[in-house]
């Protein structure tokens, strides 16, 4: 997993609530057996006309936001299906940070496994960040995970908080399977005890 320390880039405003993972990546793209290549299908139904041409009004089709690295969105972002194809699609598009008032649990977890930072902030702060993001190509934000701070185009600093374990894993780009395998002896003894107490398992 790629480390996440600081990120500087344009933030795209997407002031919709309940953006579900079907919307982030529709089912017809889930037949892949790879993690890559989903970026061009991200937000497919909002992004493309029936003939495959781009819808000019969709935020990520606008010249200013085509290279956005940050997404600012409404509440309950990533609800619905557990598909990790959703963060894969965002990452493949180039989005490495999503800022919203709230996230659905599974999507939130999935982001951390892919080097994407989901930041939760109160609605009033989202509203003010959204207003700054509306300024197009000038809406360059810097996210500093070490300091847990967002620097806005206006020069403001907005603090955020990330669970310490997840923050550590993102900063170091750690493979958490590797970390867990180091606890092999604890898993072994757990299994031995369980086999004795609950022999039906």
């Amino acid at each position: 997993m790629e480390k996440f320390d600081t990120l500087t880039g344009v933030a795209a405003p997407m002031p919709m609530i309940n953006v579900d993972t079907d919307r982030i990546i529709p089912k017809q793209f889930l037949t892949t057996i790879k993690r890559t290549g989903l970026g061009r299908h991200a937000f497919h139904e909002m992004r493309y006309e029936d003939d495959g041409s781009e819808k000019p009004d969709f935020v990520l089709n606008k010249a200013a936001y085509r290279d956005a690295k940050i997404l600012i969105a409404g509440a309950n972002f990533g609800c619905g299906s557990s598909r990790e194809h959703a963060p894969w699609a965002l990452l493949d598009f180039g989005i490495r940070c999503v800022i919203a008032p709230s996230f659905a649990d599974i999507f939130f977890n999935n982001c951390f496994k892919n080097g994407i930072l989901p930041i939760t902030l109160p609605q009033e702060q989202i509203d003010s960040l959204m207003a700054e993001a509306d300024r197009g190509a000038n809406a360059v934000f810097t996210i500093d995970l070490e300091k847990e701070e967002i620097s806005t185009p206006d020069g403001r600093t907005v603090a955020f908080q990330i669970d310490p374990f997840r923050r550590h894993c993102l900063l170091e780009g750690l493979d958490d399977i590797g970390l867990t395998l180091e606890k092999g002896p604890a898993i072994d003894s757990f299994e031995a005890k369980r086999a004795q107490q609950h022999p039906w398992l």
């Binding site: 529709p26 037949t31 659905a104 374990f165 867990t180 606890k183 898993i187 039906w200």
Partner: protein
């Protein structure tokens, strides 16, 4: 005296391998269900790292999401779907994971077959790369959906790193009136608390109306916990649970069965156990429900009318409602029972079990599907299909004009050919009415199986109570 604990606390405490630092505990996973869509990249990850599957015996794989529900004897025609199923077959073989082939009678939707085979047991932790894993909570198992990276983590270590969720108890008091099913109970709960109402929580469903439900009904309720944002849903195991499990092929037998039941009886929440949130709902005033919008929280009694966004004070919600009505092609004030439909889908991990098919058949019996309506029955598993055929339900459906299909996820997520055409409107027993969920620009109204059958016969959304 020991502190009073909830059902959730007991299962969680029993599975902590390492409490960890910073609130991230290492939790043991007893049961892992695997399907074709969310597992290829996980197996690929194991292969690259040279890691084996730690507990193939605690893992069970089946293809369900993308397979066709028409005759499958000649294989899968769609090349990408076929590749995904073949990849699952190859991966399970290479890693020694038990796999139920597509032509096996036990094949079906992961969340139908786990309980049906007795793979799902009380007091266990169960995961699957699918959000509707919450279904298994009906047995008093802590069951939740995970992403593909976590699928790989479980395959490699049989554990997961998890933050302890909060707890919520939803008590549904009293008896549900006739015509009100488990689906109506859970839809009304989601309407009440909202699609993010239980985010970060594990819900325990309690109360007389929940205890009165069969295991099938309890699974429907727990299944849709994720639609309220919950990590998982739970129902305390009781005699109904044990009765359902006894004799199932993978359930414990003989003396071990007795030992297991003795343990399972200790699982229900202790009197006085505390929850982070408590909600109480009366079952007695419930009526059959139907969704009108593009989120499961957009739900109303069938006797209601399409709501007016102008009456909504919150701007974001107002815009969401207006967008939903535009997408759904509905106008405010229109009675819901006047909404004409083109398609009916009865099936899915929410409502594809034998009791669901019986409820739909009771309405369909001796009646005909309305002209111009395409209605499809997709049993949740080969075993459900077989039992329905033994009971003659297939004949009732076919005579009424329904299609009788092979098992799979089908038009719940429309990954295969079972999907709505743009603009088509469907009464569906599935779990999500998101934009495009059942097909590009398709329009979904979520209902119970009996309500779906009533809609099929009427040609429009209908109140099943008028059919009894």
């Amino acid at each position: 005296m020991a502190e009073a604990r909830t059902l959730f606390d007991k299962i969680w405490d029993l599975h902590v391998v390492d409490p960890g630092e910073d609130g991230a505990a290492l939790i043991y996973i007893d049961r892992h269900l695997v399907h074709e869509v969310t597992s290829p990249q996980a197996f690929e990850g194991l292969r690259i790292a040279g890691r084996p599957v730690r507990r193939p015996d605690a893992t069970l794989a089946v293809a369900d999401h993308n397979i066709p529900t028409t005759d499958r004897s000649a294989g899968i025609a769609d090349a990408t779907a076929r590749l995904q199923v073949e990849t699952l077959e190859a991966n399970t073989k290479a890693f020694g994971v038990p796999y139920i082939p597509v032509d096996d009678i036990r094949q079906g939707i992961v969340h139908i077959i786990g309980p049906e085979l007795g793979f799902t047991l009380p007091g266990t932790t169960i995961v699957c790369g699918d959000s509707h894993t919450s279904t298994h909570g009906a047995f008093g198992a802590l069951a939740f959906g995970i992403g593909t990276s976590e699928v790989e983590h479980v395959l490699a270590t049989q554990t997961l790193i998890q933050q302890r969720p909060k707890t919520m108890r939803i008590t549904v008091d009293g008896k549900a009136p006739a015509g009100v099913t488990a689906k109506d109970i859970v839809l009304s709960i989601i309407g009440h608390i909202g699609t993010a109402g239980a985010t970060g929580h594990v819900i325990e469903y309690a109360g007389e109306a929940i205890r009165d439900l069969s295991m099938e009904g309890r699974m429907t309720v727990c299944n849709m916990s994720i639609e309220a944002g919950a990590r998982a849903g739970l129902i305390a195991p009781d005699e109904t649970t044990f009765e359902y499990l006894k004799g199932r092929s993978m359930a414990p037998k003989g003396a071990v069965w007795e030992q297991a039941v003795t343990f399972w009886r200790t699982l229900p929440s202790d009197p006085g156990a505390r929850y982070d949130t408590e909600i109480t709902i009366s079952a007695e005033t419930l009526v059959p429900h139907v969704t009108w919008g593009t989120s499961p929280q957009d739900v109303l009694p069938i006797s209601g009318a399409v709501p007016d966004p102008a009456a909504e004070a919150d701007e974001a919600r107002r815009e969401g409602m207006a967008r939903a009505l535009d997408y759904m092609g509905l106008t405010p004030g229109m009675p819901l029972s006047a909404v004409k439909i083109d398609r009916v889908f009865i099936g899915s991990c929410t409502n594809g079990r034998i009791e669901d098919l019986r409820a739909a058949a009771a309405v369909a019996k001796g009646r005909k599907v309305a002209e111009g309506v395409g209605a499809m029955i997709v049993p949740g598993s080969g075993l459900v299909k077989h039992q329905a055929e033994e009971e003659g339900l297939d004949r009732i459906f076919i005579e009424a004009g329904f299609e009788w299909r092979e098992p799979g996820c089908s038009m719940c997520l429309a990954m295969n050919d079972d999907r709505l055409a743009p603009g088509e409107r469907c009464a569906s027993t599935s779990n999500r009415n998101f934009e495009g969920r059942q097909g590009f620009r398709g329009r979904t109204h979520l209902v119970s199986p009996a309500m779906a059958a009533a809609a099929a016969i009427s040609g429009h959304l209908a109140d099943v109570r008028e059919f009894q």
